[in-house]
Symmetry: C2
Subunit: 392 residues, 2 copies
DNA sequence: GATATTTAGTCCACAACATAGACTAAATCG
DNA sequence: CGATTTAGTCTATGTTGTGGACTAAATATC
């Protein structure tokens, strides 16, 4: 049920309206904010005052809109006080970043580690060290970290902060949030979900409407962004594109099914064991016809799965990330062709394919971005956090 | 952007909180409402007073909770004043219903007409007559109709109230809202979407969480309900289950693709032309092995498509409606088996299959229910409508 | 260069709403 | 019958946004 609306909720709501407007439509004067939000100038002035005091907004010089009249003072999001920590555990690396309220990446670090060889406890200990170092660094920059999100390659229970099963890591029933023990609130989330959000906030997402972001790795995941928010499904396991059935009589998959997309377009289907995607790209660039053929087949299978996804979920755009980003020139054509052939007659608008603009850091950035998003959506909850903050 | 929160919005929000609580948790005393919503007794009393004055709530006798102390007065939704009109245009009938605020069906009427033989203008004129008759009848019952939703078998543009293309009706670019010209606000929506909502409000939906409702007819549509609201996708065309690819090399489909679910489990794939579903059911009940075999094949194909849907969209339950309701005993087994085989290993919870409890009226009822839902979600917008209302 | 005009931002009296707690009402318990 | 308990109302108060008057700072016009 929607919570009762009290006076404080009204206040919090309007703070969010003003901060959200600053976030979306750049620097604005108080007068313009009043115009855009429908609030009075008086109210906007008070709210902006509070945001500035909390270090979430700053004045940034006079602005003449060309017309006559007294010039206004531009107000914009401030990146000087509030920040977020993004962490990522993946098969062969740990990553961390600090992002400030204006979504500038202030620190970004990656550690190559073979996490399959280590126990979950060792991996989490390593992540804690990395996270703690990032928090120190953030403090050194004068930043107060509002929270932390951890990206994991597998389905997670966000309520308990634990992983039921992450086959790629070899994890089963690992409690992450508790074990991490960082001095900020911690949430965990699925890597594919966060990569989609990373694309939304740090890639081409702002110019996209609703989109489906495909994270091709060993498994193939997808994140669906609708109205600026993730669609998670009833249990948080939506977006398992890798196990969409491409051909019911196809080869057996590790999920127990047959003919899943993963068997046609996952990394293991494209690259012989021991090699990486870069090897494949090199062969493709050298003009190896067998490699091109394999990619075309994978692209066609991807196109079938995406057709199905479009029919069910109706995204506006489809962004290919992960291994499909470097393979885009060889994969996207056949995929788009399959979609056009199957969808073109029924739909006025067949979704466009696009490459991911964010590289391998999409999930890490999306993790931090999710905290920032939360702050912007409810600044009232974070005013205290930062009021007594560092220098300023 | 979320609208600015003004005083009136606070009021409207709390009215919705109270009315929503009454809707979900049955008759409650003012004290219990205060407890449940977090509002004070004073505030609840004022809000309840307004709701009673507007005819949206009534007091209904004293209540002793068994304990001692002064007994409270139970307050519940009132069905005596506010109502909604649901209309449906389908291939071979028109239907209409009047539903009151407490979601009781007050009038329900169906007219058998061959709408393929008539022009869209004639069909809409017929619907207008039916709708106007229902409005008269509602007025006779002392009901004020807050709005109307029209269910159509095809994708609609809800903003303009028009149908781009409804192949089953043979319609192309028909503006419905404008042509209908009823003296209440009119919206149009897709039949499969509304059938899902019909199941939510008039079937087993209340006990379900998030669910996918499959409407099998000549085409196969689906509506996904998440958090009590429809998931529509970017353009409102989500849920086209009928064109999910079951087998990429399968038979050609009228959509231009190949191997769509519709070709395996649509009405035309199960029943020879000229016959209806009832004929098939009769053969099945008589023990016709060929018919049972055909249903099993259709069920298996449905299971493959549903597996894909579960992977992408993660519903909690799947409700089979339309032609799959009478065929449930013969179709659900193979479908469930396919899903279990493909999903059981990965997922802790494989969605349950269930039969629709609402019959062919699901979409009509869902249409009216959507208006009721809107009133309950924002009673403030409808207070005036009913304040000067009929007798009382 | 002085004055009018225009736009930005602040100030102050006021209105809308929810709150807290005192108060009245109506039941059961002893 | 009085004590206790719970429901509901009443009154004074607090928080928040509003509207319009006011000040500030620019350009346009004469």
């Amino acid at each position: 049920m929607a919570p009762a609306v009290r006076h404080e909720a009204m206040r919090a709501g309007n703070l969010a309206v003003v901060l959200g407007e600053l976030d979306r439509h750049g620097p604005l004067t108080r007068a313009a904010l009043a115009e855009n939000t429908g609030l009075t100038k008086t109210t906007v002035s008070k709210l902006v005052g509070d945001l500035i005091e909390a270090g979430m907004a700053v004045e940034s010089g006079a602005v003449r809109d060309g017309e006559r009249g007294r010039p206004g003072v531009a107000v914009r999001l401030s990146g000087h006080r509030v920040a977020a920590l993004g962490l990522e555990i993946n098969v062969d690396y740990l990553a961390a970043c600090v992002v400030d309220l204006s979504r500038s990446v202030r620190v970004l670090r990656t550690q190559a580690v073979d996490n399959r060889a280590a126990s979950p406890q060792e991996v989490i200990a390593g992540l804690r060290d990395l996270g703690a170092a990032m928090l120190d660094e953030a403090a050194g920059l004068g930043l107060t970290v509002a929270g932390c999100v951890v990206a994991l390659p597998g389905p997670v229970d966000r309520l308990t902060g634990s992983v039921h099963s992450a086959p790629n890591l070899g994890w089963k029933d690992v409690a992450v949030t508790g074990a991490l023990a960082l001095p900020v609130p911690v949430l965990v989330d699925n890597e594919a979900n966060l990569a989609a959000l990373g694309e939304l906030w740090f890639g081409s997402g702002a110019s996209l409407g609703d989109f489906l972001h495909v994270s091709g790795e060993i498994g193939i995941g997808a994140g669906l962004v609708v109205d600026g928010a993730l669609f998670r499904g009833a249990h948080g396991f939506a977006g398992e594109l890798g196990h969409v059935v491409v051909s019911p009589d196809g080869p057996a998959c590790r999920c127990g099914g047959t003919g899943c997309l993963e068997r046609y377009a996952g990394q293991d289907a494209l690259v012989p064991p021991g090699q990486g995607i870069n090897d494949l790209v090199r062969r493709l660039q050298a003009g190896d016809p067998g490699a091109a053929e394999a990619c075309a087949r994978a692209g066609a299978a991807l196109g079938v799965a995406l057709t199905t996804a479009v029919n069910l979920v109706d995204p506006d755009t489809i962004v290919l990330g992960g291994i499909f980003a470097p393979l885009y020139p060889w994969v996207s054509g056949p995929a788009a062709e399959a979609m056009r052939a199957r969808l073109g007659q029924m739909r006025a608008h067949v979704p466009t394919l696009a490459v991911s603009r964010v590289g391998g850091d999409a999930a890490t950035l999306g993790a931090a971005g999710q905290v920032i998003q939360r702050v912007i959506a409810d600044p009232g909850a974070y005013l205290d956090l930062t009021a007594g903050g560092t220098l300023g």
